[in-house]
Assembly symmetry: C2
Homo-oligomer: 548 residues x 2
């Protein structure tokens, strides 16, 4: 049997686009003599659809799309993900389902049993978990079909009390198919491969895995669809972050050798993978919203430099406008570094000095500020004046403003709300400062794109004389390690102290993180590349008083 | 038996504060000869605690608080809400529990069975639903103790397959106690009373209900704790939005007559209740964050006027600073109306004209804008210049900026991001424009506080000559009705057309709502007063293309 794995990029709510793409995939697979073509989880409506799932019309459109797609399934079968209404009187109104289409009709519907409801997942908000699982039969082959999380209850995952694959294996199957919408995180790829491999080994059958690709606002789906033989070795793996179709002969799987994955497999490609994920995230944010041009403030610092490189890669250098806005405390080298970067990339840039602007603000505030010393208010006036210029250009010419804050800054609130925290999207908001440095070196691996001076000079916001980030913050290598343990690993203060960090340092950092929740509430969507990003996957109450 | 209902205001994560408050309530109840004192759901840690529940230290602190509180339960018993660890190897790591404390110890732990996971609720993210339910015995009385949602499976609520009260009623009980964290919505009070009344009638026993009071960022808990007799009539009801303790003799409940509620009971007090909720919301946001002074832009329009009245009521007029920032297109009457309002309330106000500021921005942008006509970019420069002044004063003097956008504007994106959409909190973001007008008249019921001219003039942003809201938007009475049906009632386009709205109008409005998701992503937290507010209870993907 020939299976086509269709690793595609869907658009939430864009039924016409998704349906057309799936139908064209069916015809392409048929042209390649495939017997079955497999699309990803909730491919018809896109994942995550959010509260649109609560609208009758939205689900009606899913049903109509499935019917239309089914009409094209002649001489080929297809597996397509879509919501399915719960016809019982009890439970949530929908199932997260996989539709098996054959001979122009819906032949069978498989419903997801394990619903993730943590981090960025909230499937219990919409879906009822299934408790019965049936084999799908296609051309005499028995397929154990599951959806994403359904395979994640090996090793007694404490979250779930059932294991769909146990039921399916008992009924007897020739191979497994899993359709997924599994978002990228830099340390998740290895885990995912290992878990899929373990499933293949445990149930002693080949596994065909199809994941979505492309970004939906914060979430970036990396694809990485694959085939695994009954020994748990990966025999075929699709390129990440790109749309493609792979044809696999099921009968050849026994003879194929492959590679057994390890959980840490991708760790040495961490920065490269994050970079590619961010490029894909920027490209799809613009593409899906119908924008083509980006604008960003260029400070001569490393965050705006890396952001500009990613944007130029995603959108084309000519579509990324840098704006240099030197102020009273900007250094000459910052201006030169910013210009050098724009020139090296071939991006257009404008220069708008802001000193006369901040002077007007300060003059008009003088009756109220009187003789009070220069402070945060004056620093922020500079950052906010820049935002007004950037947004004016954005409004006038249709640029989308890119935010350049990194995760370390976002964590401790080192940024100006309505100033440098503005933007339609945050490119580096899930990348710690130390990783931004590594990424700059990765970008320069073949030639100097980012000026070396940008990389080696001490980070500074340049909002007051001789300012350095290290005046206000711990050194980034220490800060980032504490943040990683607190945010990603959910280590509490006692656990952090047990790890060897000083209590005073921990108290200082955690207080900054917890009291800046109000700032992060208003930040742009952040491209998620870690297991715990600021944004939809982290819910913290603003008025709370805990460690703060 | 004498029961004390303790309707208190807790602070998320502030264990010291909550513990002290609960202990003091125990002593007060004991002084009043109560046998049992009842506190609200998750009173020890506050509700909702969000992802803090994932930290070991946070739960340890809950346990220590319970132990400390228990020590004070001598000669009196107490029911206190707190998380409880799940000691099974399967399921989410916590239960949402009620601790029954007696003789200085934890005597029994009741675990919540029905976990809400819709709108603002996400209890499945943290908690495992219980499936076994036991009677609590106190001084020979058998108590059917439940937690909030546990009582919401009368009338075959399709969400749940079990009904804790059926189990408890089978075991035999003398009365029911329900502890809750049930947030305010203007049309929810009547529903809640009706549902509680139906429980009392169905199980033929008195019901004692204790709800939290006070606001936690977006959520406002109204209290409204009550006692209901076995006929389902409300015999005692506590004042909403205020902390208090009520003593009820259980043995007298049979002889007490009361009032049977109806679901629409509170509808005629809609605006009054919303007003009180918002005052409580503002007061607690400031109080819990440790701020005392607010700042807001005063335009002479109705939204900033109503916001200022609410803030003055919550914080004291002397703590609310209005800033008039007339620009090129501000009318004389707007300035006078704003001044009249500040004077009528006794609030301080500053005046900062912005024309020289916007002139500088336009001059510096001229090389790029060239001869392009005046448009959105120039309008937004005015709104954003004002935001810079407001935030500068906020940063310098410790004011929190209040956002003055209403729900109609927030819905259709009629506002400037980083301009008038700024603020630490949005006071009216869940109040439609038509309700803002009604509230202004409610505020003026005894004397003219808001200038009549502010109420009767046509709404205008005054960002270009002779601008009116109605140039860009449908009339507010029609707009608000469509928005209410689409947002609160989740009516899809077909259903709206069936209700009699024109297709063209529906298409126009829904497109505005759906394409402005990116703006709402960055708005301040909005005080929730309806059944569906923008904010934590409404999850919409930004890049989606559906009805837009």
């Amino acid at each position: 049997m020939r299976i086509a794995l269709a690793q595609y990029n869907y658009h939430i709510g864009n039924f016409e686009y998704n349906t057309r793409k799936i139908i064209s995939g069916i015809h392409e697979a048929k042209a390649q003599q495939a017997d079955l073509v497999v699309f990803a989880e909730l491919s018809v409506c896109g994942y995550p659809s959010g509260d649109f799932l609560e609208f009758k019309d939205y689900i009606d459109k899913c049903y109509r799309a499935i019917d239309e797609i089914a009409l094209h399934c002649n001489g080929i079968a297809a597996i397509v993900g879509a919501p399915h209404r719960n016809s019982n009187t009890k439970g949530k109104p929908l199932y997260n389902a996989a539709f098996f289409l054959e001979n122009g009709k819906v032949k069978q519907i498989y419903r997801k049993g394990l619903l993730p409801n943590y981090d960025i997942f909230d499937e219990y908000r919409y879906f009822e978990p299934a408790t019965e699982f049936d084999i799908v039969t296609c051309q005499g082959k028995r397929i154990a079909l599951t959806i994403c999380e359904d395979l994640w209850n090996l090793n007694d995952n404490p979250l779930y009390t059932q294991n769909p694959m146990d039921h399916l294996a008992e009924k007897g199957a020739d191979f497994m198919v899993n359709i997924a919408a599994s978002p990228f995180a830099w340390d998740h790829g290895g885990e995912r491969k290992t878990m899929l491999s373990q499933n293949a080994s445990r149930y002693k059958m080949p596994l065909f895995y199809v994941n979505q690709v492309g970004a939906q606002t914060e979430l970036i789906f990396d694809g990485g669809s694959m085939a695994i033989n009954a020994n748990g070795a990966i025999t075929h793996e699709m390129e990440s972050f790109s749309e493609n179709m792979l044809i696999v002969e099921t009968d050849e799987m026994d003879r194929k050798t492959g590679i057994k994955p390890s959980p840490e497999a991708d760790h040495d490609k961490k920065i490269e993978n994050i970079y590619n994920a961010l490029v894909s995230g920027v490209r799809d944010y613009f593409g899906k919203l119908g924008f083509s041009k980006a604008i960003l403030g260029l400070s001569g610092g490393i965050d705006s430099a890396v952001t500009m490189v990613i944007a130029a890669d995603a959108l084309g250098a000519e579509n990324v406008l840098g704006v240099l806005m030197p102020g009273q405390f900007s250094s000459d080298h910052s201006i030169k570094d910013a210009e050098d970067l724009a020139k090296a990339l071939g991006c257009p840039y404008y220069t708008i000095p802001i000193t006369d602007t901040t002077t007007i603000f300060e003059k008009n505030l003088k009756p109220f500020f009187k003789e009070l010393p220069f402070g945060i208010a004056e620093e922020n006036i500079q950052a906010r004046s820049r935002a007004v210029y950037l947004m004016a250009l954005s409004n006038k010419f249709g640029y989308v403003l890119l935010n350049t804050s990194n995760k370390s800054e976002a964590a401790v609130g080192y940024g100006t709300l309505y100033g440098d925290m503005c933007g339609g999207m945050s490119v580096l908001g899930d990348v710690y400062k130390t990783d931004v440095f590594t990424m700059a070196r990765y970008i320069n691996r073949n030639r100097e794109i980012i000026p070396v001076n940008t990389i080696i000079k001490p980070p500074s916001a340049e909002l007051r004389p001789d300012q350095k980030d290290s005046d206000s913050l711990p050194e980034y290598d220490i800060l980032d390690e504490v943040l990683f343990q607190y945010i990603e690993k959910r280590q509490d203060p006692n656990e952090l102290i047990q790890m060897g960090f000083e209590k005073k340092l921990i108290d200082r950092i955690l207080k900054l993180v917890n009291t800046c929740e109000y700032k992060r509430h208003q930040t742009p969507p952040i491209l998620r590349v870690s297991s715990k990003a600021f944004g939809m996957g982290r819910k913290m109450p603003i008025v709370a008083k805990y460690l703060g």
